[in-house]
C-alpha cells in the first residue's frame, strides 16, 4: 500500500453546532475533508469560517453534532473519554498560534511535556526533547525559559513539543500568524522538513498566504464548508486571495 496517499483524517458530512434554540450557531455545515499521510495539508479560509472548530473536532477536543470523522480509520468519538485522551496523547501533536508553552519550564522541558504525560522519566524525556530541539536549531537555547525566547524560537519549541513523541498526526493552528514573514517562513520550512513523514499527516490551519507554497494540499473553507480542495506538489499551488488574508510583504 502506498502510505503517501492513505487518509489519516477523513471527515464526512461533519457538522458542529454551538448553543441551542434561537442562539444556536452552525459552525460546521457538512464538512467533507481528507488529510493524507505524508502530506502537509493546509486548511485555509477567512476568519470565522470554522477552521479551528474543524481541527478541534478532528483532534477529539470537541464532539461533533453530526456526520463522522475518522482518524487512521477509527471513529474516536466512539471512544470513552479516557481512551480518547490516551489516543490523543499517543497519536496527536499540536502547534498553536500563541505557542502555549509553560512559562516556568525551560525550552527542553516544554518540548518534553508529551513524553512526561506518557509517563517517560524526566531525564530521558528531556534528553529526547533536547535532541529534537537540536534538529530544529535550538541547541543553544535548551535551558532558556520561554520569556527569554523570541516568537520564532518559541514556535520552534512548540514544534519540538509536537514532534517529540512521534505522533501520526500534527495539527497546527495559525503557526505563523504571530511571526514576521522571515521567521514564519523559517518555521514553516522546519515544519515541512521535520514533520512531514510518510507515516504522518500534518494539517496546518492558516490564512497566511505567504506560506502556501509549502502545502501539498490546500482545503479551502468558507461558511462552515470545504468549498475547494487543491492537491499538487509543493510550490505549485496558486495563492488564493482572501479578504482578510495577511498581505504579502513588499
Amino acid at each position: 500500500m502506498d502510505t503517501t496517499t492513505t487518509a489519516a483524517v477523513r471527515a464526512r458530512e461533519l457538522r458542529k453546532d454551538f448553543g441551542e434554540g434561537p442562539t444556536r450557531i452552525e459552525v460546521l455545515r457538512g464538512v467533507d475533508f481528507e488529510a493524507l499521510l505524508g502530506q502537509l495539508t493546509f486548511l485555509v479560509g477567512p476568519s470565522g469560517c470554522g477552521k479551528t472548530t474543524l481541527i478541534s473536532v478532528i483532534a477529539g477536543l470537541l464532539d461533533s453534532s453530526g456526520g463522522e470523522v475518522r482518524l487512521f480509520d477509527q471513529n474516536i468519538e466512539r471512544f470513552s473519554a479516557t481512551e480518547r485522551i490516551l489516543f490523543r496523547r499517543k497519536n496527536l501533536g499540536f502547534v498553536y498560534q500563541q505557542y502555549n508553552l509553560l512559562p516556568a519550564l525551560t525550552a527542553a522541558e516544554n518540548a518534553a511535556v508529551p513524553l512526561l504525560a506518557a509517563g517517560v522519566r524526566r531525564r530521558a524525556a528531556v534528553d529526547l526533547a533536547k535532541s529534537v530541539l537540536l534538529k530544529l536549531g535550538m541547541g543553544n537555547r535548551l535551558d532558556t525559559l520561554p520569556s527569554k525566547l523570541s516568537g520564532g524560537e518559541q514556535q520552534r519549541v512548540a514544534l519540538a513539543r509536537a514532534l517529540v513523541h512521534e505522533p501520526r498526526l500534527i495539527l497546527c493552528d495559525e503557526p505563523t500568524a504571530a511571526l514576521d514573514h522571515a521567521t514564519g517562513e523559517s518555521v514553516m520550512e522546519l515544519l515541512a522538513e521535520n514533520a512531514v513523514h510518510p507515516d504522518r499527516a500534518v494539517i496546518v490551519v492558516t490564512h497566511d498566504t505567504r506560506v502556501f507554497h509549502h502545502a501539498d494540499a490546500i482545503a479551502h473553507m468558507d461558511d462552515g464548508r470545504i468549498v475547494k480542495t487543491e492537491s499538487r506538489h509543493r510550490n505549485e499551488i496558486e495563492i488564493p486571495e482572501f479578504e482578510d488574508a495577511i498581505p504579502m510583504l513588499a
Binding site: T52, L61, R88, Q97, N100, L102, P103, V113, A117
Partner: protein
C-alpha cells in the same frame, strides 16, 4: 508531571510567595491564639495543679471555681476525715491580702495557708530557699513574678520583709509555681498565719485537701465525701476543668479569642483560597494545553492537589516555626511565662490548613475539570 506542577507553582514567584505568606500568617495566628487561649484558661486552675500531694479538693457545695471560696466550718475537716477511703485530709486557706513593701509598693496577692503540720500544697519548684522554712514564724514563700512585681529591678534575695494586714513577714523562699490567672503575687504560708493576713471571719477554712487510701479511686471517694458530708468534692483535674468552664461561661475571654481565631480562619480561607484560585485561573490556558496533549483529569487533579499540598506544607511549617519562636521568646517573660505552643493547637491548625487548601483546590479544580481543551486553539 509532578515536577511540572511544582515548576508551574514556583514559576509565578509573586503568587507562590503570597500563598506561602498567607498560609504562614494564618498558621501563626491560629497557633498563637489557640495556644494563648489554652494557656490563659489553664492558668485559672494553676494553683490547683500546683498542689501535687492531694488528689481531691473538698469545698462548699456552691463553689464553682478556685477564686470563689466560701469558708467551711472547722468541723467539716473532721467529717471528711471520717469518710471511708480517706488516707488523710488537711486544711487549706486561700485569701487575698494586700502585700506592702517597706518603700510603700503594694499589690493584692494570692495567699495560700498550708496545713501547719504537713505543709501539704507547698510549692515544689523553688528558685531560692526551701519551702520547709515555712515552719519558721512569720515566714512566706513568694513566687518570682510576685517578687519582681513588689521589688522591681532588685535581685532575688531571701530575708526581705513584707507587710500583710499589719503583720510583718519574712521571705524565706522564692518559688516558681505555674502562673495564676491574674498577675498577683502567689504567697505560701502556714494556715495558722495565713488566716491572720486577711480580715478575720467567723470561719476560715477554704478547702480541705484529701488523699485517698491506696486502691481507692479519687472519683469514687469524691462521691462518698459528697454523700456523707453534703460538701462538694472534686478531683484536682475535675476542679481545674470546673475553673476553665466557669471562665469560658462567665467571661468575654472565649469571645475575644474566638473572634481572632475566626478572623484568622476567614483570612486564611479567603485570601489563600482566592490567591490559589487566581493562580489556577491564570494558568487555565496552560492546563488546557496539557489537557489537549493528553493528560487525564485525574492527573490534573493530582497536579493541583500537589501544588496545594506544597504551599500548604511550606506555609504551615513556616507559620509553626514563627509561632515556636514567638512562644520561646515570650515564655521567658514574667507576664507570659507558662504560655507554650501546645501540640493540640498545632494539630488543630494543621487540620484547618488542610481544610483551607482543600477548599482552595476544589474551587480551582472545578475550573480545570470543566475546561474544554479546545480553549488552547483560541488566540
Amino acid at each position: 508531571m509532578n515536577f511540572i506542577a511544582l515548576k508551574m507553582l514556583t514559576g509565578d514567584r509573586a503568587k507562590y510567595l503570597g500563598l506561602i505568606f498567607t498560609i504562614a500568617f494564618c498558621t501563626f495566628l491560629l497557633e498563637n491564639q489557640t495556644s494563648i487561649f489554652a494557656g490563659v484558661l489553664k492558668r485559672t486552675g494553676s494553683q490547683i495543679a500546683d498542689v501535687t500531694d492531694a488528689e481531691i479538693w473538698v469545698m462548699d457545695p456552691k463553689t464553682e471555681y478556685f477564686e470563689q471560696t466560701k469558708a467551711l466550718k472547722d468541723t467539716d475537716l473532721t467529717r471528711v476525715r471520717g469518710v471511708e477511703g480517706v488516707q488523710w485530709a488537711v486544711r487549706l486557706f486561700k485569701g487575698s491580702p494586700v502585700a506592702r513593701t517597706g518603700d510603700g509598693k503594694f499589690a493584692v496577692s494570692i495567699c495560700l495557708g498550708l496545713d501547719d503540720g504537713t505543709l501539704t500544697g507547698a510549692p515544689r519548684k523553688m528558685l531560692l530557699g526551701f519551702w520547709q522554712r515555712l515552719r519558721e514564724p512569720d515566714s512566706v514563700v513568694i513566687d518570682k513574678a510576685g517578687y519582681v512585681l513588689l521589688f522591681p529591678g532588685e535581685p532575688l534575695e531571701l530575708g526581705r520583709t513584707l507587710e500583710l494586714n499589719d503583720h510583718k513577714v519574712t521571705i524565706v523562699g522564692i518559688s516558681d509555681p505555674p502562673a495564676p490567672f491574674l498577675s498577683f503575687p502567689v504567697m505560701h504560708t502556714r494556715y495558722s498565719e495565713g488566716v491572720n493576713f486577711v480580715g478575720r471571719e467567723r470561719t476560715q477554712l477554704s478547702y480541705v485537701l484529701v488523699k485517698p487510701q491506696p486502691g481507692v479511686k479519687a472519683e469514687e471517694l469524691c462521691r462518698r465525701i459528697e454523700a456523707q458530708t453534703g460538701l462538694r468534692a472534686r478531683t484536682s483535674e475535675q476542679f481545674q476543668w470546673d475553673c476553665i468552664r466557669y471562665y469560658l461561661k462567665n467571661t468575654g475571654i472565649p469571645v475575644n479569642f474566638g473572634i481572632t481565631i475566626t478572623i484568622a480562619v476567614i483570612v486564611g480561607v479567603v485570601v489563600a483560597g482566592q490567591t490559589f484560585y487566581l493562580f489556577t485561573v491564570e494558568n487555565l490556558k496552560q492546563f488546557g494545553a496539557i489537557k489537549a496533549i493528553g493528560v487525564t483529569n485525574w492527573r490534573l487533579i493530582g497536579m493541583i492537589l500537589l501544588q496545594a499540598f506544597t504551599v500548604g506544607l511550606i506555609g504551615f511549617s513556616l507559620g509553626t516555626g514563627m509561632a515556636g519562636q514567638f512562644f520561646d521568646f515570650f515564655s521567658q517573660k514574667i507576664a507570659t511565662r507558662g504560655l507554650v505552643l501546645i501540640w493540640q493547637s498545632v494539630a488543630l491548625t494543621g487540620a484547618t490548613i488542610v481544610f483551607v487548601m482543600i477548599f482552595a483546590s476544589i474551587l480551582s479544580l472545578r475550573r480545570v475539570l470543566v475546561l474544554e481543551p479546545a480553549v488552547v486553539f483560541r488566540g
